[in-house]
Subunit: 312 residues, 2 copies
């Protein structure tokens, strides 16, 4: 089965469990940017982020035997919530390994979605060890937040829907964290786009993907000092491979540019996006010449923020 057919089937498979999110436009932001922008609103997705798509697709690809034993992941971010909710929707167990220093609000959200939380030390090693142990004890299947082809195929439905809405997009701008969303979008653009280019957007402070593209190998971040907390992760081998083969450009933006773009979206579009989503608009506003006279899609990846800690 080719990629196109694979994406179509994944999309059909997850459709009963996800929202087909709307595409918003804003005349005022178009005027500011000097370009026609089409915002794909995954902040309105169930559980507030695109990750519901990949999580749901990965679970639905399991055998009945596997489903009975549940799934396990380690994540302090929104994939934990996504896997918990996707599993709940399908009536299976989700074991979520979370670092013991994860914010209470995130643990609470996972719990509310029915996830079974196991706390671990806040190191990658202990996260992996703990997840391994659960795999052994429960027979649960490990599902990686992004470095998993079924997760990527599920995420690819975002770009597919956007290109079905507007087949003539010249460019789609996508945030780059672990690379699960942009990998899926690259595959969708190849399958459904009409010469549609994908451009990545990443904070300067965690520009591992930018550096990985430069060096040709997976680079890591020495610090993770960014407001865009969904984008701190490094690439995996699967996502790096797709990105390295197909992506030409990643635009890096400063923290101030992210905050300004987030504020612009909130004030002008009246919608809530998380900082990780706002990097896309920040990239367009920073590199207007790159987008001049183009029809540009932007993926607003999620909307889970803490209002008590707004940066403006």
């Amino acid at each position: 089965m080719n990629i196109k057919e694979n994406i179509i089937q994944s999309h059909q498979r997850i459709s009963p469990y996800i929202h087909r999110t709307p595409v918003f436009t804003s005349q005022m932001i178009n005027e500011i940017a000097g370009v026609s922008l089409f915002f794909k609103c995954e902040n309105f997705q169930k559980m507030g982020a695109f990750k519901m798509r990949g999580a749901t697709n990965a679970i639905l690809q399991l055998s009945d035997e596997q489903k009975k034993k549940g799934v396990v992941t380690h994540s302090s971010g929104s994939f934990a919530q996504a896997l918990a909710l996707a599993a709940k929707n399908l009536n299976i167990n989700a074991y979520i390994v979370m670092p013991n220093n994860a914010p209470e609000v995130k643990k609470k959200a996972v719990h509310e979605y029915g996830g079974i939380i196991t706390e671990c030390e806040p190191t990658l090693e202990d996260r992996e060890t703990t997840a391994n142990q659960i795999q052994l004890e429960k027979g649960a299947t490990f599902i990686h937040p992004f470095n998993d082809f079924n997760v990527i195929l599920g995420n690819a439905s975002v770009g597919k829907e956007l290109l079905e809405y507007h087949p003539e997009l010249d460019i789609i701008v996508v945030p780059v964290g672990g690379g699960g969303l942009i990998s899926g979008t690259i595959l969708s653009a190849l399958a459904f786009g009409n010469n549609c280019t994908i451009i990545g957007a990443e904070p300067f402070n965690v520009d591992d993907a930018y550096r990985s593209l430069e060096s040709g190998k997976i680079e890591h971040n020495l610090t993770t000092d960014t407001i865009a907390d969904g984008l701190k992760t490094s690439l995996g081998d699967i996502t790096f491979n797709i990105i390295n083969n197909h992506l030409k450009t990643i635009i890096r933006v400063t923290e101030d540019e992210i905050v300004d773009a987030m504020q612009l979206i909130l004030e002008r579009m009246k919608i809530i996006v998380e900082p990780s989503s706002a990097v896309t608009l920040a990239a367009v506003l920073k590199s207007k010449q790159e987008f001049f006279n183009k029809k540009v899609g932007l993926i607003l990846s999620g909307g889970n923020i803490d209002f008590r800690k707004l940066p403006f």
Copy 2:
């Protein structure tokens, strides 16, 4: 011409200048409320509030001679911005009388929409005198923010669109300030509803409309101490007349209930609404028995808030 035909024509007249706003639903809020809710998102309206509809309709009903001389209103609220933008869209002058203690951010917004601001003392008397003077000097036509039948007919298009989206709504809940929105919605429900009841929602702290319904005459507020700053105004004779003849119920809510509902909308629906909009959901959550087993529309009247002053 009957009311129904009047609303249809008003809607057609303003359609090129306004958004047909979407209707949102939220499974999670439905579960919390125990009722099916349909949110009409006027927070996505141009300039961020339903007032664009009434302002545009009122201007479009002027003669060419009148249009040449412009329009004038006094308002420190969003009608000032609405009239300025509606006038700009139609290439005519809008003279806006604003109290000299109005927040800078509001003056700036009116200015950016092209409104010509005249400041006055912060008393109703001086507002009216100053507006009168501009009428005399410029020949501009005075347009009242809500106590104007053409404004009400323009506002009625909100309810018309909502009932076109969902003709079987049992109830529509509408915030009550000066009564311009609820009057229009009452007329729309009579014209396009299928036994659709209108219910008002109002803060306890400015419950002038509730008391007006009780006493059978226009009551005023002794204090205006509410976060829902769009709802401080008293009714006018036109809006009172419509409300008094057709409205049975106004549900009053506390400031805490408004804040909680606003937070719920932001967190669960990922959209920005102003406190005046959140009174509708607050009213439903407060009086669940009133809405049990009903299909309920809620009008989210606007989304203009200052993020630096969030109440939570």
